[in-house]
Symmetry: C2
Subunit: 402 residues, 2 copies
Amino acid sequence: MLDAREAWARSKARDADIKAWAWLPEELAYPPASDLQGPLAGAGLGVKDVIDVAGMPTRSGSPATSAEPARWDAACVTQLRAAGAVPIGKTVTAEFAYASPGPTRNPRLATHTPGGSSSGSAAAVAAGMVDIALGTQTGGSMIRPAAFCGVVGFKPTFGRVHRQGMSVLCDSLDTIGWFSRTVSQSQAVASVLLPRGEPQPEPARAPRVALLGCETIGQLDAASRQALDDCVARLQEQGATVAAPVLDADLQSLLHIHTQTMLAELARGLQPLARSAQAGLMSPVLREAVKRGLDIPHADYARLQRARERLSREWRLRFGEVDFIVTPSAPGPAPAGLQSTGSSVFNRVWSLLGWPALHLPTAVTDMGLPVGVQWVALPDQDHSLLGWAARNAGQSMHTGTN
Amino acid sequence: MLDAREAWARSKARDADIKAWAWLPEELAYPPASDLQGPLAGAGLGVKDVIDVAGMPTRSGSPATSAEPARWDAACVTQLRAAGAVPIGKTVTAEFAYASPGPTRNPRLATHTPGGSSSGSAAAVAAGMVDIALGTQTGGSMIRPAAFCGVVGFKPTFGRVHRQGMSVLCDSLDTIGWFSRTVSQSQAVASVLLPRGEPQPEPARAPRVALLGCETIGQLDAASRQALDDCVARLQEQGATVAAPVLDADLQSLLHIHTQTMLAELARGLQPLARSAQAGLMSPVLREAVKRGLDIPHADYARLQRARERLSREWRLRFGEVDFIVTPSAPGPAPAGLQSTGSSVFNRVWSLLGWPALHLPTAVTDMGLPVGVQWVALPDQDHSLLGWAARNAGQSMHTGTN
């Protein structure tokens, strides 16, 4: 993997155009070789600026936060450091990992959004400045920027990566994940943050796959539709069985529950800021979200959580025999403009359920913008999901390097 | 409720003996009357020192933490402030809300433990220094000190009080709760932190109750056994139907899952400290817990979470027709000595399940130490549980005031 010194030098050289970094040190503190043992030995690591790195500020994309450096690494940063990774800086996030974007540009086409909220991490990997970078997802904040930037993005099962040292936006949704150039790099990070008890042999058979086109919740453009069809065709060529269950009503319910849950939780979390003298430093879109969230009565919130649990149980049974689900990552390639980070409509169901989700880049459009597909598995099938993807990757991955 | 100015004055006067406060300001910042509107107008509030209050340090019972004042209130403190409460200081917690106790003494008998980890909050209410105080529970850190100090302690449904601004020990267990002198004060706090959509009429009938003696997981002394029997007898006199299901194997499984979950999560959360130059500032008991937790493979942890979800589902069905469960709070009154905070064996099952739990003080022993009972309800039955307790409180509560 790209060494931290090289990663830092490339970042310094290229970031004026990309603006992936919220904070890069003037000099890199490179540890002695004896500290660089493990599966990630020496690898440069980008860290989304809602996750603490000791000695670096955590600004969460907001001028209302403190510029004081963090005292401790977040738990996940400690784990990665112990495996040899070297955090080289903090990557740009949308304001409090919600919607209002930072300055980052899409390395594939600078006039287009990199997606968000983990904009800087996805862009830094896409631009070849680091091979691995941490992000978070509450709605679509990992999978969407991975799709728009054309890198591998992995959001593990909810609750499995400890969030100590991460700024919480929505307690029941926020999940720490990571970007990488390849699936095998993503597996290397998973081996550290989701350590296995014992190695699990890959099943020597073709996978059982479910296809969820999600047509009723969002429209796919031609390139993304093609990416989905191609992925399914390739899997079928390899002997996969592909079922296509129709779950329109469930999908709509899950999306609605996600919207309300996210608003109610972010509103309670950001209330201290919204009621403070610094409230004026919040973006209008964030202020409006807090206002909407505070209007949701607790009783409604509680009822939605019960519905969420019921659907979660039903879906676990429904997909119990499936190795993974193939479904869109985004409605199309990165939209033009930097004012919006694009739609998360195909990601939020999996954030709500807490199931592991993986973006695989598979093609580029004529304009040079990446498209790909999302693979999803049942809770705690993280390693299995990555394993199926690794087996498939040789034939299907398309990751340009800039 | 006890006014913040009076609360602060009493705390200053009495705390040399009790040591409930980790931090009390030299002067109280008392807001103008126009800011003191709402159900808690002017009430002094104690805040466990793992929860941020703007302008006060958050030390988490550890010299390894920063002495810098917090920049923001925690979300729950903001909500209480908006309802008129005035935080007067930070209360003593066991080290990182785990096991190693602070200096707090039991206001009922100074040679005995106040329980932990929310030691200072329970003691401050018991000593009449404040009427309401925030705590947290991961194992038994609310219900146990409430029992030992003889105050009302309420741990709501997991996930319903936002934890922004609280130091996370165990992500899937930590729950913010509160202590009070009376059930109606606890209801006033609940109306703020768990706002109802619309008022729910109390059912005009006697309750359906389940009695869980939990004999196979812990031994009860005579006074606590008597408190449990008296409570059940009183409920039956009032027409309650009381069933006593036998769930020994489940209880043992749930306890085991709790132990492993708590160790695995706290170890990941405290790894940054344990690997740092300040590791020497950790207590031996905490260092050992981190070591044990890191030895739990992720695959084991994931398997235990699946078992937890299954048992949680089964128990929800099993107790679906019950208004509340009556079960011990603690094996007996507060043990002598300040080295240990006592046993949490009767609390941990409810922390694992995330069900709301309430401690009701009902009697005192000849030595003057309080005993009582724990009432538990299904998730999101928080207001109903408090309502049943309020109806019962007139006849059964025993809360001395010092």
